[in-house]
C-alpha cells in the first residue's frame, strides 16, 4: 500500500515568494539583492528566454505554421498555458462570463506580454468622479518606484506632459511604420491624440546593465527575447536574482495552501510537485503571494485554519471580490494606399510604436472613465491564417491589371491579390477602464477540484452599461479614424446585441482587484503596503492589490508596487533587528 507523506524541509527561509511573474519576480529580486534568503515557487517549468525562446524561427519550422492550436497566441508565442489548461479547470456562474488566462512557466505572462508599459496617473489613484473607491496611496507616493523601475528595466517613450499619463525616464522610441503614418493622419482629423508608444524594450543600451542586449528589431517580443532586449521577469529579475546566491527557485511547484500557526501568522506553504505528484512543506518568516490576482485569491481562500476560518487574509470577506479586467474592442481593414507597396523590413519592435492615450480627460460622456487605443498592421511575417477570408475583401480594391474584379477567386488573379494585399492590413483596439465592483468576483467552487485535488475557482462576472457604452464609443471612434485615413473596414461592425464587440471579461488578461488594498480592514484585504490586515507576515504583490486599474496596462504598476512592498518588508525586518 502506498504511503502518503509530506516532505518537510527544515530550512526556514526569510521569505517565500509564490509565483515568478512581474510581482513575484520583483519582490524576489529586491529581497535577494538585500541579502535575504528567499525561496521562489513556480507552478510551471523553468524558462530562460536565452535558450527557450522561439525567436527568429520561420513559419515552416512549425508543422502547424504558427497556428494557435496549443498556444493561444500561436505556435511560436512564449506563453506555456492559456485560457484552458488540461487538468486545471475553473467554473463560471450561469449567466455570467470570465476567461482566465494562466501562464505556467518561470516569468509567467511577462514572457509573452505586449511590453506596453504605462504608468497609472494621479486621477487613477484618486478618482475625481467618486464612482470607484480611492486607492490608499497617491501617484506621488508611487512615482519614485515607477522612476526606479524605468531605470532598472528600461522603457522607451517621449515626454509629453499629459496630466493623467505621467512621463517616465525614457529611452528613444521606435519611429512609426508607414501604416502608422496614415493612422496618425486619420486620428489627427478625428481629434484623437497619438503619441509615440511606451514599451519596455531596450532601443538603446541600458545604462549600468551588462547582462542585457539591445533590441535588434525583429518585432517578436511575444516570443520572448534571447538577448534579454525586452522585459520578462524570467530574464530581467529572477535569473539575475538567482546569481546573488540568495534566491532558490523550485519549479513545477503548485502551491496548495499557506500554512499558519495558532496566532494566525503565516509559517510557510505546502505544495505539490506537478511532475512526481509528491507533497512538500516549506517554512518561511514572510510569505509573499505573486501568483496572479485570481490564483493568489484562490490560494488565500483555500488556506483555512482555526485562526483564519474563511481563508487566510480574508476576515473582511473580500478576497476574490472587486475582480476587474480591462475592456477591449477592435476593428480592422486595409489601406488601399498600401496595396502593392514597396517592400522593406519594417518588423520594428514587438511592442507598440504609437498609441492614443485617453484624449477626452474627464469630459462628460455616457460612460465612466476612458480607454487608450493600440494600433496594428504592416508587413509582418506571414503565419497560419494571415490571408484567411480574402474572399471577404479582395473585391473592395480596384484592380488595373485586367484580371477579374470579384470576391474570392483562384489562380493567377488570386495569387496576385495575395501579393497586392500583403502589408496593407490595418487595425485598432481599445483597452479601457472596467469598473471594479464587489458584485464581480471569484470564489471557491464547492464541488470541483483540479488534478492536484485543489479546489478550483468559480467566476461571477457581468459587464455593466459603463463598459458596454465605452465599447460603443470605441467602435464609433475607430470607424471615424479608419474613414479619415482612407482605410476600408473589413470587419463586421458589432451592434448592440454583440455589446459593440466588447470582449468577454478576462480576454484582455488584465485581471486585478481580488485582494484590494485600503486603510479600513473591513473594506479591504491588504493595507497600503500590500500586507494582509489580518496576517502581518503575508503580502500580495500581483494585481490583486489594485483598488481600481486605469486604462493603463497594469504590469508597470505591479512592478512599482511590488518593489515598494519588498522595501517595506526590508524596513520592517530592520526595525525588528535594531
Amino acid at each position: 500500500m502506498p504511503t502518503f507523506q509530506i516532505k518537510e524541509e527544515s530550512t526556514v527561509y526569510d521569505a517565500i515568494v509564490v509565483g515568478s511573474g512581474a510581482g513575484g519576480g520583483m519582490a524576489g529580486y529586491i529581497l535577494a539583492n538585500a541579502g535575504l534568503k528567499v525561496l521562489m515557487l513556480e507552478a510551471g517549468p523553468f524558462f530562460d528566454p536565452a535558450k527557450d525562446a522561439l525567436q527568429l524561427r520561420w513559419p515552416w519550422e512549425s508543422p502547424r505554421r504558427g497556428a494557435s492550436t496549443t498556444r493561444p497566441f500561436g505556435d511560436f508565442d512564449a506563453a506555456f498555458g492559456g485560457w484552458q489548461i488540461e487538468g486545471e479547470p475553473y467554473s463560471v456562474e450561469k449567466g455570467t462570463e470570465f476567461e482566465w488566462f494562466r501562464a505556467r512557466m518561470l516569468g509567467g505572462r511577462t514572457n509573452h506580454w505586449g511590453r506596453i508599459s504605462l504608468r497609472m496617473g494621479p486621477d487613477d489613484f484618486k478618482p475625481k468622479d467618486a464612482i470607484t473607491d480611492e486607492w490608499p496611496i497617491t501617484y506621488d507616493e508611487v512615482k519614485p518606484f515607477y522612476d526606479r523601475v524605468d531605470r532598472m528595466i528600461g522603457i522607451y517613450g517621449t515626454v509629453e506632459n499629459l496630466h493623467n499619463e505621467p512621463d517616465g525616464i525614457f529611452l528613444k522610441p521606435p519611429k512609426p511604420r508607414l501604416n502608422e503614418h496614415y493612422i496618425m493622419r486619420g486620428a489627427k482629423k478625428s481629434g484623437v491624440t497619438i503619441i509615440p508608444g511606451r514599451g519596455s524594450v531596450l532601443t538603446e543600451a541600458l545604462p549600468g546593465n551588462k547582462d542585457r542586449g539591445t533590441c535588434f528589431y525583429c518585432g517578436q517580443c511575444g516570443r520572448s527575447c534571447k538577448v534579454y532586449g525586452d522585459f520578462s521577469s524570467s530574464s530581467c529579475l529572477v535569473i539575475p536574482a538567482m546569481k546573488t546566491g540568495n534566491l532558490t527557485v523550485i519549479d513545477n511547484a503548485m502551491v496548495r495552501e499557506v500554512l499558519s500557526n495558532e496566532e494566525g501568522l503565516a509559517t510557510g506553504v505546502s505544495y505539490v510537485n506537478t511532475k512526481d505528484m509528491k507533497e512538500y512543506a516549506v517554512k518561511g518568516k514572510t510569505i509573499i503571494l505573486g501568483a496572479s490576482a485570481c490564483e493568489s485569491a484562490r490560494l488565500m481562500l483555500n488556506s483555512k485554519s482555526k485562526s483564519h476560518p474563511g481563508g487566510i487574509g480574508n476576515s473582511s470577506g473580500l478576497v476574490g471580490k472587486y475582480l476587474h479586467d480591462s475592456t477591449g474592442a477592435s476593428i480592422s481593414g486595409f489601406l488601399p494606399q498600401l496595396m502593392d507597396r514597396t517592400r522593406y523590413n519594417e518588423d520594428g519592435v514587438g511592442s507598440v510604436h504609437i498609441y492614443s492615450p485617453w484624449w477626452l480627460g474627464d469630459k462628460k460622456l455616457d460612460f465612466a472613465r476612458g480607454y487608450h487605443i493600440e494600433y496594428g498592421g504592416g508587413m509582418h511575417m506571414p503565419s497560419y491564417g494571415t490571408f484567411h477570408g480574402i474572399q471577404n475583401y479582395n473585391h473592395l480594391a480596384p484592380r488595373t491589371d485586367g484580371l477579374p474584379q470579384e470576391a474570392g477567386g483562384y489562380g493567377a488573379a488570386l495569387k496576385k491579390d495575395y501579393y497586392r494585399f500583403y502589408g496593407s492590413r490595418v487595425g485598432m483596439a481599445g483597452r479601457g477602464t472596467a469598473i471594479a465592483r464587489k458584485e464581480n468576483y471569484c470564489e471557491i467552487d464547492p464541488n470541483r477540484v483540479d488534478k492536484f485535488g485543489i479546489p478550483v475557482l468559480k467566476f461571477n462576472y457581468k459587464w455593466s452599461n459603463e463598459e458596454i457604452k465605452q465599447a460603443k464609443h470605441m467602435i464609433d471612434t475607430f470607424q471615424e479614424i479608419m474613414h479619415n485615413m482612407g482605410a476600408v473596414i473589413t470587419s463586421n461592425i458589432p451592434g448592440e446585441e454583440q455589446l459593440y464587440g466588447l470582449e468577454a471579461p478576462g480576454k484582455i488578461i488584465h485581471e486585478g482587484g481580488t485582494t484590494r488594498m485600503g486603510n479600513d480592514p473591513k473594506t479591504s484585504v491588504l493595507n497600503k503596503w500590500g500586507q494582509a490586515h489580518d496576517c502581518k507576515n503575508l503580502y500580495v504583490v500581483d494585481a490583486g492589490p489594485f483598488v481600481q486599474q486605469g486604462d493603463k496596462n497594469l504590469t508597470w504598476t505591479i512592478l512599482a508596487l511590488s518593489m515598494r512592498t519588498a522595501e517595506y518588508i526590508l524596513q520592517e525586518k530592520n526595525k525588528l533587528n535594531s
Binding site: 514597396t342 511575417m381 474572399q391 470576391a407 474570392g408 493567377a412
Partner: protein
C-alpha cells in the same frame, strides 16, 4: 550591452567580424538557424506539444484519392508562374493533411466538401473531379470560387472552396518560396530607422 554584443550573443556575427547589418541585407538568415524539418524538436517546445505533434505525424487522415484531389485543387488555386512555384511544389497538400489532424474541426468540412465536389463533377461531367479535363474543372471552380455571384444551389461548394482556399494560402505563404513571393524581408536582426525617405515622400508624408 550594445546591439553588436546582442548579435554576438545570438551567434549571428563572429567576434571581430566587420560585417555591417542593414535592414535590407540580402543574406539568408535561415543559414544561421538550425536547419529543421517537420518533426525535429525545437528548444522551448513542451513535452506534451512534441508528443502530440509526433502522434499526429504518425497518423493518416485523407485517403489517396482525397490527397490527389487536394493536390489538383491547390494547384488550381495557386498555380506556378514565371516567378514562383505551384502549391504542390512547396508541399501544400502535406500541410493540409497535417493541419486537419491538428485542427480537427477542419476534418468534416474538408472530407465532406471533397465528396460534394466529386458528386457535383459526376453529375455535370460524368466523372470524379480529378478525372475531368482542366476546362471542366475550372468551369466548376467558376461556379464555387466567387461567393457573391455563386448560385444558391452550390452554396455548400462555396463554403468548401473558401476553406480550401484558406488552407492553401496558409500552406503556401508560410514556406520559404511563398515568403519570397510576398517579398517579406524581415525576421532578421537589423536596425529600424523608420520608413525609407523616398517611400514616405511617395505617400505624401514629409516627416522623416
Amino acid at each position: 550591452m550594445n546591439r553588436r554584443d546582442s548579435l554576438k550573443a545570438l551567434g549571428l556575427i563572429a567576434a571581430g567580424s566587420a560585417a555591417i547589418l542593414t535592414t535590407d541585407s540580402c543574406d539568408s538568415p535561415s543559414k544561421n538557424a538550425t536547419a529543421t524539418t517537420e518533426g525535429d524538436r525545437l528548444p522551448g517546445i513542451q513535452d506534451y506539444e512534441y508528443e502530440r505533434t509526433q502522434k499526429l505525424l504518425s497518423e493518416k487522415y485523407f485517403d489517396e484519392h482525397e490527397m490527389a484531389t487536394i493536390a489538383v485543387l491547390a494547384d488550381l488555386i495557386l498555380p506556378k508562374d514565371e516567378n514562383s512555384p505551384s502549391a504542390t511544389e512547396v508541399g501544400v497538400p502535406d500541410f493540409i493533411e497535417f493541419i486537419v489532424k491538428d485542427i480537427p474541426s477542419h476534418q468534416l468540412p474538408m472530407r465532406g466538401g471533397l465528396k460534394w465536389l466529386d458528386i457535383y463533377a459526376q453529375k455535370k461531367f460524368g466523372n470524379t473531379f480529378i478525372e475531368l479535363k482542366v476546362e471542366n474543372q475550372t468551369s466548376i471552380l467558376d461556379e464555387i470560387a466567387y461567393p457573391s455571384k455563386a448560385k444558391p444551389e452550390v452554396s455548400q461548394g462555396v463554403s468548401f472552396f473558401n476553406l480550401m482556399r484558406d488552407l492553401t494560402s496558409s500552406g503556401y505563404f508560410t514556406t520559404k518560396e511563398g515568403i519570397a513571393y510576398l517579398g517579406y524581408v524581415g525576421n532578421r536582426p537589423g536596425v529600424w530607422n523608420g520608413v525609407p525617405e523616398e517611400v514616405l515622400k511617395a505617400h505624401g508624408f514629409d516627416e522623416v
